[in-house]
Amino acid sequence: MSDPFVLGGISLTSRLFIGTGKYSRNTLIPEVVASSGSQVITVALRRVDPQSQENIMNHIPSQMTLLPNTSGARTAEEAVRIARLAKAAGLGNWVKIEVISDQKYLLPDNSETIRATEILAAEGFVVLPYMSPDLSAALRMKAAGAAAIMPLGAPIGSNRGLKTKEMLRILISEVDLPIIVDAGIGRPSEAAEAMEMGASAVLLNTAIATARDPLLMAEAFREAVSSGRKAYLAGLGPVEEAAVHSSPLTGFLN
């Protein structure tokens, strides 16, 4: 079955995006890439150090599409600055905008994110804004030139799953852009559920990086994302509260 996900002009077969920040060693990265089958990997520019032998970039397989993120930015200006530095450092023109002005829950600041989206999209970046699921903010990000919208499922690092499910459903149905669920997914079943709902992809880090066996967990997520996508394409039956007769109201016609 051919079901490519085209994003920023690139055709992807995997709908599982992964992170880099929490592994016990960077040498796990290529192994997780292989086990997850992922083709897009996000990396915080703040961790990139071209002068160091241990530079995280040396561990990212060359076939990967890089998604530099603006982790650490507290304002639109800082995010813009970090995105430009990433581009200048040769990390490509994709960017995940992450503007967080709350260090307690690490929730994204939608209004600053909209501003940064506007500036960076105009500069030709493929902009993927990480956001708190809110319809009007998502529509503004689309108008500002975002290539996809990345709403959170739950606070980052919380492994709590799709706590924002109802809002995600609204974004998926109302925003004419790919929706990539980013943050909060702790279990493969939750990734599958996001895909069944019609998300175009999911992005994960903590759930894989902090598993006892990250490689096995990466494989589990690969299968879950693929299953969830297939279920979405196949068309799920409606959920009923109780068993239903086949045609209780019109059966007399037969």
Binding site: Y23, S52, A209
Partner: protein
Amino acid sequence: MSFYETVLRLEQLPYETLWKQYGTEDVKRALLKERLDEHDLQALLSPAAASCLEEMAQRAQQLTRSHFGHVMQLFTPMYLADFCVNHCTYCSFSSIYDFPRKKLGPEELRQEASVIAASGFRHLLVLTGESRKESPTSYVKDCVKILREYFSSVSIEVNPLSIEEYRDLMEAGVDGLTLYQEVYHQETYRKLHIKGPKRVYRNRLDAPERGCQAGFRSVNIGALLGMYDWRQEAFFTAMHARYLQDKYPECEIGLSAPRFRPYLGEFNPDSEVTDRALVQIILAYRLFLPRAGITLSTREPATLRDHLVHLGITKMSAGVSTEVGGHTQTGGTPQFEISDSRNVQEITDMLIANNLQPVFKDWDILTGDPA
């Protein structure tokens, strides 16, 4: 509103009986809670919690790994100057000691910086004694302008400054502020700080808040453990951190748990802080403030540091000298004796053996000319 008002309220609590009110069931209840309150914090610091250290450690470890990952950020301090006008009874830089004082000039600074940077560090903490004459803000600022050529993050640990002075240093490239209250107990504070501007308790207490207002990315606070009853000092420190975190959500609030170390003089602290007590304090900090960075210094011995890396610590220093120019010169006076003298490679190896990734770079200085 200042944290001082909270200090005045907390000072009224009946600590002699308060710690005894808590039982292990209070500790266990705190472990199940999402957001811990003042009473949970007291329970975690109470004698009852001593028998629950393993459960506390399990939860602390889990919170730390999900929020920070399997990583440990590394940094090293650099002493710029040891001139000091204060007399603090526990410090070798105290004005009463007669030793040749020094401060780094631009060339010495470059030499020191390149040696430190060559060992892999990208995050630097610069320190001075307090001397408006020898190491004023303008001196620190000039140093930072040079240091940013070598490091991707520069924090300061200097005497309390005004918001304007902090802003001035931020423009030069400083992104973090470390400032320890040393002692929260006011009477003890006055006893230990005999002479100099540091005697003014409130000026020091409000300085981290001024740092938040100035807009530093991170502000790190702490009590020098051992100067007064550790439960009370840890309680005040954590409450101070919570106050700053609630009021300035855009700033990363961090904590340190430095224990008193031998120095030039004869002063002996009043309240011994055992290893068990230190562990209890660190775990209480982590559980009460799940997102806060917690720093562990080389004041602690290597074997203990190796165990503490799993208990909530997110930042460690390594390759430390507490002398001015200690990386390239000899004959300086250390501010205090360190315990863990391992070099960067040894600390890196230890972390890897403990399944932790050493992180040397976790920020880029964004001030100055746009890219």
